[in-house]
């Protein structure tokens, strides 16, 4: 009997360990666009120079069926070593860094500085009329910080996308 499929869309953070070879990122990104999956954020960097492996962290959203397909399709790619879903497979911690530029003077400038302290953001550049804050945290915290900065003279944002790792002593 066909079970009634869960149609609720949820956000998932997926780590993909790949061979660091030419075109591997294009394969992963092409898979998402070619099959109509959504990418909310993507980070990639080499994580082991001797083993030539890179780690891609993708934040995507979909119903459980779609997420199952995404994982299966990723595992099918030849240079993929492992695929782990930090939202369903095992608990992970997620962090993202953002650089947030705020310009303004007077009360707004003071308020921006005060909020940045609440969020434990660091000032990495300053002029008499602007700050660049560095903020690290879960994506929700970064979202909240940016929202609060908006009325205070938000000028520019650069986000790294999510990096994630499992809790506990084990590797991915």
């Amino acid at each position: 009997m066909n079970t009634i499929a869960d149609k609720r869309t949820r956000r998932h953070t997926i780590a993909v360990l790949v061979d660091n070879e030419a075109g591997v990122l294009a394969r992963v990104v092409g898979l998402f666009s070619g099959r109509g999956y959504n990418i909310e954020s993507l980070t990639v960097a080499e994580v082991d120079a001797t083993a030539h492996t890179s780690r891609i962290t993708v934040v995507t959203s979909g119903t459980p069926d779609v997420i199952e397909q995404i994982e299966a399709q990723l595992r099918r790619l030849v240079p993929v070593h492992r695929v782990v879903n930090w939202t369903t497979d095992k608990p992970g911690v997620e962090r993202e860094m953002a650089l947030v530029k705020v310009a303004g003077q007077g009360d707004k400038r003071v308020e921006a500085m005060r909020i940045s302290q609440v969020f434990r953001a660091r000032v990495v550049d300053t002029t008499h009329t602007s700050f660049v804050f560095e903020i690290t945290g879960g994506p929700d915290k970064v979202d909240n910080f940016i929202d609060l900065m908006r009325p205070l003279g938000l000028v520019d944002v650069s986000r790294t996308g999510v990096a994630a790792i499992s809790r506990g002593p084990e590797a991915m």
Binding site: G23, D65, A72
Partner: protein
């Protein structure tokens, strides 16, 4: 062996070759006997290395698409990988249709493309294109080789990836300077891919669960696909044993025809959009579905939320991504089909499983009732050749020989699939997933190259066959006596049928007002042209076609208005089949259905 001896031995094992020589050596080490190709500037060094080589036959096609389809025909009729060699730029882009076709139908191909020299890549050089970029979504994997010392390893990996797991096409793009450079050659035995490990062994727990479901089934049906063919002849043999042991009915997809003999009473015929009434109704009403090497394609399932609503489903596939893709299943088995079938048989026997005989008897009674509808029947004519009649005669007059059938795409393909009775695997080559018009003629050439003495027939349509007609010249050059049997109805028949059924009979651009004279065309190629216009002359002309030992273009003039039935309209369910366009049973196609292809 002492240390010095070992070092000498190692030194002997390392052979220094040019990149072009490595290609030839790797092909030979991989047991390749035939390659299909077309030369050009960026592959000249490889063609030069090929010039005096023995034991490796190059078949010069007339278009790169033809070369790839020929390699597909070769692969499907032998179970061995098809090999293609083409140049950069247009050579590579012309190969794309064939690559996509092979990807959709899981056909193992190794396609070697020339590329401009490494220092020119990205420079918009003459006949440069981003081959690995263009072919990334239409290959199982691809490589651009930028170091000659990687070349032999990549070539061996290419064969491994193309032929194992779920087979598929791969591309190795080789810049011209790499073909000239010298480097170290390694043999296939010393190459093992870093990450690629396809899972082929079934989990026994799921095998046992599958057997339990089968033993308890009251209305079971086997639904098999191309995965059985791809798993090799042993998988077909084991399938037959399992089907006969259980006594269950069996149907198959377009891709799976021949895995189970069509003459067997347990065979229900093909299922799907143009499948038989009994096959589709059995799928709809079954309580246990045993899907082996098929992927619940939209042409098979019809309306997905009305697909086999009351069945428990077992799904065997070598590709884990097929599980739960279109239809949720109860017992997934990710494994090679032959290995899984062997275990299923083993557990069925050792656990002394018995089928539910009384229920099965009732189920067969129901199926016989559906069979009584004779859903493939048609109205015969004395004045005009009905396409169904032409296929029936072709089958009857060739059934005592070893015959390989290829097809183009459209009505003729469906009639061939419905009516030609295949008794064994690897004898039916058709473009299933991609639906590539122009596939059949070059595919027949590839089949004939692999089986020089067999009867190879392309059941074609006059529209499709014009897409790759130039390959008749290839057939002539290599003395390949392929028979191109054209069901000429002057229309793109399936397009015309859909326009009649879904677009109010507005036949927008589906009629070819200026068709070539196929008999004269055959003669221009140096082939034999035959024409049949009346049912009475058909048998003699078909016999003539079979007897002549040269390539034949057979212009079989058929009823231009005949439609292909039975049919499940787009967006309809298996139990909403239409058996003919006579009478008032033709349903309205829903707006939703019209959106579907």
């Amino acid at each position: 062996m002492d240390k010095d001896g070992m070092m000498n031995r190692l030194a002997e094992d390392v052979v220094t070759l040019s990149g072009a020589e490595m290609v030839i050596r790797a092909l030979k080490d991989q047991g390749v006997a035939h390659i299909f190709g077309y030369p050009g500037g960026a592959v000249l060094p490889i063609y030069d290395a090929l010039f005096a080589v023995e034991g490796l036959t190059h078949v010069l096609c007339r278009h790169e698409q033809g070369a790839v389809h020929a390699a597909e025909g070769y692969a499907r009729s032998t179970g061995k990988p098809g090999v293609v060699l083409v140049t950069s730029g247009p050579g590579a882009t012309n190969a794309v249709t064939g690559l996509t076709d092979a990807l959709m139908d899981s056909i193992p191909l190794v396609v070697l493309t020339g590329q401009v020299a490494t220092h020119l890549i990205g420079n918009d050089a003459f006949q440069e294109c981003d081959t690995v970029g263009i072919t990334r979504p239409c290959t199982k994997h691809n490589w651009l080789v930028k170091d000659v010392n990687d070349l032999s390893r990549v070539l061996h990996e290419a064969f491994q990836i193309a032929t194992t797991g779920r087979p598929g096409p791969v591309v190795v793009d080789i810049p011209k300077d790499i073909q000239f450079k010298k480097g170290a050659y390694v043999g296939p035995e010393s190459v093992s891919h870093r990450t690629y490990r396809p899972k082929t062994e079934p989990e026994l727990g799921s095998i046992v669960r599958a057997i339990e479901l089968m033993a308890a089934a009251e209305r079971p049906v086997f639904y098999t696909g191309g995965g059985i063919i791809n798993a090799g002849p042993e998988a077909s043999r084991l399938l037959r044993e399992l089907v006969r042991t259980t006594g269950f009915p069996i149907t198959s997809t377009l891709m799976g025809l021949g895995a189970y003999p069509a003459s067997d009473p347990q065979w229900l015929g093909m299922l799907g959009m143009h499948g038989t009434y009994e096959a589709n109704l059995a799928m709809h009403d079954c309580d246990v579905m045993i899907c082996l090497g098929a992927r619940f394609d939209d042409r098979v399932t019809g309306k997905i939320d009305a697909f086999s609503p009351n069945s428990r489903k077992i799904h065997l596939d070598i590709d884990a991504a097929q599980i739960n893709k279109n239809v949720r299943v109860d017992v997934p088995i990710v494994a090679d089909a032959a290995k899984a079938l062997k275990e299923m048989l083993h557990f069925w026997k050792t656990q002394r499983r018995k089928v539910n005989a009384p229920a099965l008897k009732d189920w067969w009674k129901q199926i016989e009732e559906w069979r009584g509808k004779k859903s493939l029947s048609y109205r015969q004519s004395n004045s005009v050749i009905k396409p169904q009649y032409a296929i029936d005669r072709l089958y009857e007059l060739t059934r005592d020989r070893e015959v390989f059938i290829t097809t183009e795409v459209g009505q003729h393909q469906m009639w061939a699939a419905q009516r030609f009775k295949f008794e064994g695997p690897n004898h039916w080559m058709t473009s299933g997933g991609l639906g590539t018009m122009g596939y059949g003629l070059p595919a027949s050439i590839g089949v004939q190259v692999a089986h020089p003495d067999a009867l190879v027939i392309d059941i074609a349509g006059e529209a499709s066959v014009q897409m790759t007609m130039q390959e008749m010249s290839t057939a002539m050059q290599y003395g390949l006596p392929v028979k191109i049997f054209i069901l000429n109805n002057q229309y793109m028949g399936m397009v015309r049928q859909w326009q009649q059924l879904l677009h109010g009979g507005r036949y927008s651009h589906s009629y070819s007002e200026a068709l070539p004279d196929f008999v004269k065309m055959a003669e221009a190629f140096g082939c034999v042209g035959l024409r049949a216009e009346k049912p009475g002359e058909l048998d003699d002309k078909i016999r003539e076609m079979i007897d002549v030992k040269r390539p034949v273009l057979f212009d079989c003039r058929v009823d231009p208005k005949e439609n292909c039935y039975p049919m499940i309209y787009s967006g309809a369910a298996h139990n909403e089949m239409v058996l003919s366009d006579a009478g008032d049973e033709t349903p309205e196609v829903t707006e939703e259905g019209k959106m579907l292809v």
